[in-house]
C-alpha cells in the first residue's frame, strides 16, 4: 500500500491520454511445441533510447506447456473510485494465465521493468478446487479485486460444467471463487469488460476446450457450433440480465471493447467469421432505456485466392476469410483498430458515430495469401493479431500469433514471433514505423502486449472525460 494513489491511475480517459507516454511494452512469448518454458519479454519502446525496439529483459517461467495468451495488471484506474476501496494499490504486478495449463503467474515489475521477476505462482489445482473453472484467459482489475475469465469448466477436457469468471484478491492474489451468482443461459466464455459507474458487464463466447485445444474443428465451425452470443450482466449483483444471439452463422464473438468514457453506454464486439460468406464483422452494442441492443455495423469481405496459396483448411473455399481475431478502441473512443489475421491487414475505423464505423486507415502486413513484407523488407509471418494502442492514441503495436494449434492450420509454414508498430496520423491513417521491429528468440511466438502505465484494453474509468 502506498501513501498516495499510483500516478498511473487516471481519473478519466482524457487524463490517461495526457499522461507521459509508455517506456516499455510487455509481450507474452509462447513455445508452440511446448519444448521450452513460456516467457515474458520486456521491450524498450522509448524513442531515442539506445536499446529502442529491443528486448531488454526476459522473465522465463519454471514450467513448460503453459501456453501464454492474454494477461493484465493487478490494478488500474478503476481503483480511483471510493466504491472499490483500494485506492492505494500499485500498478505493479502482471497477472499471466497459462491458457493450456490453467497455471497463473504473478510477475512483479518493480523496482524496474528490467528487473521484473516472478512474485507468486498459483497452481492449476487451486483454481480447479476453488472455482470449478479451467483455462484462465482475460484479466481485468475492478471493484471486487482481480477478475479472470475462463474458457473451460471442470474435468480433464474442461467440459464438466460451464466456464465463467472468477475473482482473485488484489492484495494477496488468493483465488476467492466464482463471480457469477446467476449465469442465465450463458454456456461459453471468452472476453469480458464493463462500465463501472453504470454497473454492467458484457461477456462474449469462443468455444469449449475440445473445440480449440487441438486446433479448430472444421465440422463444428460449419455446423455453427462455436460461440455466437453476447451476454449482459448486472456487475455488482453478478447476474445475467440479457443474452442476445447474433445468429448462429456469426461464429466466434471474441473481443468486447466498451467505450472508455463511462458516460458513453456503447461498445464494440468483433466476430471472427460468418459461415455463410466468410465475412468478418464488427458489431456495436448499446444500452437504451435499461435494455441492451446490438447490430452489425461493419463487415469485411473475404479475398479470393488460388488454391496453391491456401492451407488445406481453406482450399475448398478458394478464398481467405479476413478472420477478425482482435479489436481495440483508442482512449478517446474515436478509432477502432481491427486485426484481419487471415487477409493480413490492420484496419482503422473512425467510430465517432459508433453505429456507423468509417474506414479511416489501413496497412497490409503478412496474410495467408498476400504475405506482405514489413517496409523494412523483413518477412512477416501470420497476420496482424493482438493489438494494443498507446494511451495517447499515436502508436499502435501488434503481434502475429493467434493460438499455437490454429497458427499451424492457417499458416502451416510457421509463425515466428514478430512485433511491429504503426504511427497514427492526427486525423487517422496508419503507417508502419520502419525502425520498430521486434524479432523474438527462435522457437517463440508472440501474443498479447501490455504497456507500462496502462493501455487501451486495461484501464476502466469511473469519471467521464471533461
Amino acid at each position: 500500500m502506498t501513501m498516495r494513489p499510483d500516478p498511473t491511475f487516471y481519473a478519466s480517459p482524457k487524463l490517461a491520454m495526457e499522461a507521459p507516454p509508455e517506456n516499455f511494452a510487455y509481450t507474452l512469448l509462447l513455445s508452440p511445441d511446448f519444448s521450452k518454458p513460456d516467457a515474458l519479454a520486456v521491450i524498450d519502446v522509448k524513442p531515442g533510447s539506445p536499446s529502442y525496439s529491443r528486448i531488454v529483459h526476459t522473465v522465463t517461467m519454471p514450467n513448460k506447456g503453459d501456453e501464454f495468451h492474454h494477461f493484465g495488471w493487478n490494478a488500474c484506474s478503476s481503483a480511483l473510485s471510493p466504491l472499490a476501496g483500494h485506492a492505494f494499490l500499485e500498478r505493479r504486478y502482471l497477472i499471466i494465465p497459462g491458457i493450456r495449463s490453467s497455471r497463473i503467474y504473478v510477475v512483479d515489475t518493480k523496482p524496474d521493468p528490467t528487473q521484473a521477476k516472478i512474485h507468486k505462482i498459483i497452481e492449476p489445482e487451486e483454481i480447479f478446487r476453488k472455482t470449478g473453472y479451467s483455462r484462465p484467459h482475460t484479466v481485468h482489475c475492478g471493484p471486487e479485486g482481480i477478475y479472470v475469465s475462463t474458457l473451460g469448466g471442470a474435468g480433464k477436457d474442461g467440459t464438466e460444467g460451464t466456464p465463467g469468471v472468477f475473482i482473485m484478491d488484489c492484495g494477496s492474489f488468493e483465488v476467492l471463487g466464482r463471480w457469477e451468482l446467476d449465469r442465465g443461459p450463458q454456456k461459453l466464455h471468452y472476453d469480458f469488460w464493463w462500465n463501472l459507474p453504470r454497473d454492467y458487464m458484457v461477456t462474449s463466447e469462443w468455444a469449449l476446450p475440445p473445440q480449440f485445444e487441438k486446433g479448430i474443428v472444421p465440422e463444428d465451425l460449419l455446423a455453427n457450433k462455436y460461440g455466437h452470443h453476447v451476454h449482459f450482466w448486472d456487475l455488482r449483483a453478478r447476474r445475467n440480465v440479457q443474452t442476445i444471439d447474433l445468429g448462429a452463422n456469426h461464429q466466434m464473438a471474441l473481443e468486447v471493447r466498451p467505450a472508455h468514457d463511462p458516460v458513453r453506454e456503447y461498445g464494440f464486439l468483433g466476430v471472427v467469421v460468418d459461415t455463410t460468406n466468410l465475412e468478418g464483422s464488427i458489431w456495436t452494442w448499446w444500452r437504451e432505456n435499461g435494455s441492451f441492443h446490438i447490430e452489425k455495423t461493419a463487415t469485411i469481405p473475404p479475398e479470393p485466392a488460388p488454391k496453391e496459396q491456401l492451407p488445406p483448411l481453406l482450399q475448398g473455399f478458394g478464398a481467405v476469410p479476413p478472420l477478425i481475431t482482435d479489436i481495440d478502441l483508442s482512449m478517446d473512443d474515436r478509432f477502432l483498430y481491427v486485426s484481419c489475421w487471415g487477409t493480413g491487414e490492420m484496419r482503422q475505423y473512425d467510430v465517432s458515430d459508433p453505429r456507423k464505423p468509417k474506414l479511416a486507415g489501413s496497412v497490409h502486413i503478412g496474410g495467408i495469401a498476400r504475405r506482405t513484407p514489413h517496409p523494412n523488407g523483413k518477412a512477416y509471418a501470420g497476420g496482424p493479431q493482438m493489438v494494443e494502442i498507446s494511451r495517447d492514441g499515436k502508436r499502435v503495436y501488434w503481434t502475429n500469433s493467434l493460438y499455437s494449434t490454429w497458427d499451424d492450420q492457417f499458416y502451416p509454414a510457421g509463425v515466428p514471433g514478430a512485433e511491429v508498430m504503426a504511427t497514427v496520423g492526427a486525423n487517422g491513417g496508419l503507417e508502419l514505423a520502419k525502425d520498430y521491429w521486434i524479432s523474438f528468440p527462435d522457437g517463440y511466438r508472440a501474443h498479447q502486449i501490455r504497456l507500462d502505465g496502462g493501455d487501451c484494453s486495461t484501464d476502466s474509468f469511473c469519471y467521464p472525460s471533461v
Partner: protein
Amino acid sequence: MSGAGWTTFSLWLAVIASGLYHGANPGMGWPLAVSAGLMERRPRALVAALLPLLAGHLLAMLAVILPFALLVTLVEWQRPIQLGASLLVIGFGLFRLVNRRHPRALARIPPTQLGLWSFAVAIAHGAGLMLVPIYLGLCGEADRGHAAAESLIGKDVCVAALVSVVHAAAMIAAGGLLAWLAYRYLGLKFVSRSWFNLEASWAASLILVGTVALVLSLVG
C-alpha cells in the same frame, strides 16, 4: 467561561472537527458526487449524490451513538460504561491498524445505492465509534445526580441526535466543498491529488480518542 464550559466547548469542537475530517477524506465518498455531476453534466446531480452520502453517514452515527444514549441513563454505571466505551474504541483502532483492508463486501454495493454505501463504509471504518467518547464526555458534563430518569433519557437522546447531526453536517460541508471545487474549478486531477492514505492515521485517531477518554474517566 467556567472550566466545565470550556470542556463542553472543546467537545463540540471535536464533534465538528471529526466531521470535517471524515468529509474531506475521499474514501468517505465525495469523489462519487463529482462523478455523478460530471456524468450528468449538471451540478444538480452532484448535490443529489451528496444527499444519500449525508443520510448514510448520519444514520451510521445514530446507529452507534444511540445505544450509548440509552446506556448512560444508568447513572451508577456511568464510569464502567465510559471505561468500556474507551476500551472498545481503542480496540477497534488497534484492529484497524493491524487490518487496514477495506471489507470487500462494500464493493458489492451498487453505485445507485450511495446511501447504503455511505452507511456501510462509515460503520466499517468505525466513524461512529470515534464520536462515542466525545459524546459520553458531553453527557458527563451535565449535572446528572438530581434529574429524574425519564428526563435524562430524553436529554441524552437529544444530545446524541445533536452530536450526530452536527458531525454529519460538518462532514457533508467539507466533502461537498471539495466535490464542488473539483467539479467546478480544480478538475479531476484533484481527485487523486487530494487522496492520502489515511488508514493508519484513522486507526491512530481512534486509539487517541479512546485513550484520552480512558484517562479522563479514570481521573475524573
